[in-house]
Symmetry: C2
Subunit: 361 residues, 2 copies
């Protein structure tokens, strides 16, 4: 019985008719397809006079680096375009940082955190811990898997620790109240690695993300990036840069946030209707996910996965987000990719699965 997210998602996608609340991606119907297709065509047509089909520099395309720096400046951080390195999504930014840290650091993560960050750290030979360590990893603005801001309450103590901090901002633009936090980078530029991505808002398939770090760390990251894959796909970078320069982001975000907010509410209503006091759920500040904990701590969400698939619903069991297999009585639900009606049906199926599974225990 696996708790690897990707393996569980494969199992869900292989079963026809399953309502998958297991995803970690934007809603298909919200992808800005037409604007990206136009941006891509302009890029391959060579609109800006340079050649997207040749190698780019490892640090990335100047226009994209400048846009990212400007956005951080607007949020209060003193960032220059030269401080930004474009990566193949936030995942590669995490892998690069893990690769250039001194060997075998102890990286402190939340007790529940993003599983692929743990993979990237472990792959580079670091230890992932939840208490005492050498480096912090946090997901700012909107956490995964909870969907709530877990950094704001500990911001001061985090900065006061004096440790390097890897700040993952994958969901930071997806706050339902529109209040994007002041970047941690603004208050400790010399020891914050700031990671972002277009995956959660524009397109995960393009694989465009970035890391901003202190200029003294830039050459390490650039050398690592070059050793890892030479440069990020240039047409992908330029497509994103063209989309952003075209002013498409803000109207797109408005549309996306309004729909995700509606879906989040639908999921909370559905959980209340079908489970009542049998579960506690977070009330997300943004993003894609709700974190659900069963009142009955005997529920084993890893064991429940297969019965749930049989009922036609998929989710990610709690232990997938834990360094040590904890949170067997919790699970993550994605509200972003299903309509309110499907969300209600999915949660009803989950209830049926829980009942059926209990009957067989």
């Amino acid at each position: 019985m696996t708790t690897r997210v990707e393996e569980l998602q494969r199992q869900a996608s292989a079963r026809p008719g399953v309502i998958s609340l297991a995803g970690g991606l934007p809603a298909d119907e919200l992808l800005p397809r037409a604007a990206l297709a136009r941006a891509s065509a302009a890029t391959l047509g060579g609109r800006d006079g340079t050649e997207p089909l040749q190698y780019g520099w490892p640090e990335g395309c100047p226009a994209l680096r400048a846009w990212i720096a400007d956005r951080l400046v607007a949020r209060g951080a003193a960032v220059d375009a030269d401080d930004v390195i474009i990566t193949a999504g936030a995942q590669q930014a995490l892998a690069l940082i893990a690769g250039v840290l001194p060997r075998q650091r102890r990286i402190i993560v939340d007790a529940e955190t993003y599983p692929s960050a743990m993979s990237a750290f472990a792959f580079a030979g670091h230890d992932v811990v939840t208490e005492v360590g050498d480096v912090h990893y946090v997901i700012d603005g909107v956490s995964n898997p909870h969907g709530i801001d877990r950094v704001a309450p500990v911001r001061d103590s985090l900065l006061a620790s004096g440790l390097p901090i890897i700040v993952d901002e994958a969901y930071v633009d997806l706050r339902f109240d529109g209040a994007i936090p002041r970047p941690l980078y603004a208050d400790a530029p010399d020891r914050v690695w700031h990671v972002g991505t277009v995956s959660k808002v524009i397109s995960p398939g393009l694989r465009v993300g970035w890391v901003d770090a202190d200029p003294s760390l830039q050459h390490l990251l650039i050398n690592a990036k070059q050793a890892m894959d030479t440069c990020t796909s240039v047409p992908a970078q330029r497509t994103v840069a063209d989309f952003l320069a075209g002013g498409h982001l803000e109207p797109h975000l408005d549309r996306v946030l309004s729909l995700y907010r509606e879906r989040k509410n639908a999921m909370r209503v559905a959980l209340d209707r079908h489970f009542g006091d049998a579960v506690r759920a977070t009330d997300p500040d943004g993003g894609f996910f709700l974190w659900v904990t069963f009142a009955d701590s005997q529920v084993d969400t890893a064991a429940l996965f297969e019965p749930a698939l049989a009922e036609g619903v998929a989710y990610i069991p709690g232990p997938a987000f834990s360094t040590n297999g904890n949170f067997h009585d919790a699970l993550r639900l994605c509200f972003a990719t299903s309509t309110p009606q499907r969300i209600d049906e999915g949660v009803a199926r989950l209830r049926a699965a829980v009942d059926r599974y209990r009957g067989h225990q």
Copy 2:
């Protein structure tokens, strides 16, 4: 004074008027721009019914994996689509392999070899050696920097060594005689990591490559790929798959090979005209490069780089390709990206730089 290839290329590109024989990329005028733009438009239009803007599986797009396997089968290797993992260029394939090898291997390379392979191995903590070691790295078909087939003469002893072999086939399709070697993978599938890319023939900017390995090694590579960047840019993969399925490769290769052959000949003529017996040069079997060694072993090609730039020509000094800074009396010239006329002018400038530099010694 650096001998890092990328740094030297930056210096060359920053100087207007320089004839750069320092490149490692296809000729701009040979990029199959129109066919790739059509393929990209078809991809983002969703021609095959799946969604290129969402995450893909870490192992890559099925159509592309199948095409790569079929091509290897046609060359005599028993490869299944499931044995192929799509990567962000050959560079990432090398980084992935380096990442999944047991820690701190001694990787045997040619005395002159591809610098970024050495970077990928060193970045993962391995030792790069030229004699006794645990794993071989070879560039099959057409070597970099020599442009000649350095594997054929040692093929049998390489296989007889019993060691794992990382086979880099970046230039294998660019043989002027069209004779593509039997893949080493065909004769030792359980210990050959086979690496390929579209960078040298179709487009380096897209960042699409692959690694084929024994099924027993697949899960290691897939987990590593997921930890490194989740998946390769999906629109890029699908653009390449669409280009290949459209039958564009063979006519494109014909056009490319005829032009590179002509440019190689032009460079050999120019070297003879301007240097005569003062240099020895390889007679490339294919690819982009000639390897030039000065008869006068006092020539220091790293020291010559700046005077050459001042004369208006750039190349890569020999030590860039060496594990330990050897080959100071050699250099690599790229014939692929310049017209015969520019090649002649570039070599004339190189001669002038050598004369000027000697006068100042």
